[in-house]
């Protein structure tokens, strides 16, 4: 345990080692570490940004979905309205058509009735004239009463 020249040699060695570390080791590795830290920080920031964007996108998508649902329900309501309109219109048309048919039928019936009544009247007139002529044949001269008969016939017609 004696102090000697080793002290100085060790001090020189020590200084050289410190210089070496300070010059060649520390700065390079520190730079690598700091670059990696920067990279990691950037990566985390990008992740955070991505998360935020995803949130935004999902919000927007839900808005779009809501809008689409609203539109769809509007379209359905419109369609229903349109359908009921069509039905209503069809009913209207049908009613008009029916009334037309009924009117036509009524006119025909009237016409039929009229013609039937006409023929019936003619027949009744004929029958009356026949009957009257049969009654009158016995007592009345046909020639004499011909104008009378004709007037009756005309009246019946």
């Amino acid at each position: 345990m004696n102090i000697n020249f080793t002290l100085i040699s060790q001090a020189i060695a020590f200084s050289l080692f410190i210089l070496f570390t300070a010059r060649f080791v520390w700065p390079y590795l520190l730079r690598a570490i700091e670059e990696r830290q920067q990279k990691i920080a950037d990566g985390l920031a990008a992740g955070e940004r991505g998360k935020k964007e995803l949130e935004l996108a999902s919000q927007r998508s839900s808005e779009v979905l809501k809008e689409a649902k609203q539109r769809a329900s509007e379209i359905v309501i419109q369609a229903e309205k349109r359908a009921s309109d069509i039905i209503e219109e069809a009913k209207q048309n049908a009613r008009i058509e029916g009334e037309k048919i009924i009117a036509g039928a009524k006119a025909e019936i009237q016409h039929e009735t009229f013609s039937a009544r006409e023929s019936l009247r003619q027949q009744v007139a004929g029958l009356a004239v026949q009957g009257a002529s049969k009654i009158l044949r016995r007592e009345v001269n046909a020639k004499v009463h011909a104008d009378l008969l004709a007037s009756i016939e005309a009246e019946l017609k």
Binding site: Q10, A22, W26
Partner: protein, 269 residues
């Protein structure tokens, strides 16, 4: 232990505590502990060289396992320095702390080498009769480190505060600016300046030296017979495991103290 006939506890311990020396000049001071110097330079070159190899291929992308390990080490040191030193630590203090920690840790870790086996290897393979493995158990190493740090603290104190500022601080703190108090201030500061490198270096030296001595005592016990070998081995293993803590802790304390001293030099009271 080698084959000397006069084997007894005293010679055994003396043998293990004798450095391999060469003389570089006249006088007791001009002696070089080649074992201390060689082991510490070798370990420094190997460890820092390994780190350098990793750093040269360092990527900011996905790191390799070795790079991750070195980064872990650097971030650990950087965190420690950050809490103590408030300034541009990347210029000097943090790299210095890394060097100190790695180097001292490895120098301390030489204590795990089984002393007698290593002594046999040194003697019979390298032909070195005296060769100590643990450079930090040599007071020269710890003093060299502590004195380097000490000179650096003075250098930084003068650089940051200016020479006048440094002298002012020497005579005006901690008691006050009153001229009557100047001698006391100066005295206290001188004591502080002397005690810092002493406590800094002797703490590390004492721990490693004591650790070595205990291994030697256990080795001596092992030489007494089968029982001694058995208990010596068990206790040696236990002490080695406990020593892992001491090795790392002392390296860490040495580094932290260096950082603390350097940051104290940067800050005015």
């Amino acid at each position: 232990m080698s084959s000397e006939a006069e084997l007894n506890p005293t010679t055994y311990i003396q043998h293990h505590l004798t450095n391999h020396t060469i003389s570089v000049g006249d006088g007791a001071f001009w002696v070089l502990h080649t074992d201390t110097l060689f082991m510490s330079v070798l370990l420094g070159v190997v460890s820092l060289g390994l780190i350098w190899m990793v750093v040269r291929k360092a990527t900011s992308g996905v790191p390799s396992k070795t790079q991750a390990f070195v980064e872990l080490l650097i971030e650990f040191i950087d965190d420690q320095v950050k809490t103590t030193f408030h300034g541009n630590r990347h210029a000097f203090v943090a790299p210095a702390a890394l060097t100190i920690f790695v180097w001292v840790l490895l120098l301390n870790a030489m204590d795990f080498l089984p002393i007698d086996i290593m002594a046999w290897i040194y003697e019979h393979i390298f032909g070195l009769h005296n060769w100590r493995s643990v450079p930090t158990a040599d007071v020269n190493t710890t003093f060299a480190l502590a004195l380097s740090i000490w000179i650096l603290t003075i250098y930084f104190a003068i650089k940051v505060k200016g020479f006048g500022g440094w002298v002012t601080e020497l005579v005006c703190t901690p008691f006050g600016k009153n001229p009557l108090l100047w001698p006391f201030n100066l005295l206290l500061n001188v004591i502080e300046y002397i005690s810092k490198p002493l406590s800094h270096s002797l703490r590390l030296f004492g721990n490693m030296y004591a650790g070595e001595i205990i291994f030697m005592l256990l080795g001596m016990w092992a030489a007494t017979g089968v029982t001694g070998t058995f208990f010596g081995a068990i206790l040696g293993a236990g002490w080695a495991i406990f020593h892992i803590l001491i090795v790392v802790l002392q390296a860490f304390i040495f580094m932290m103290l260096a950082v603390v001293y350097l940051s104290m030099a940067h800050e005015s009271h």
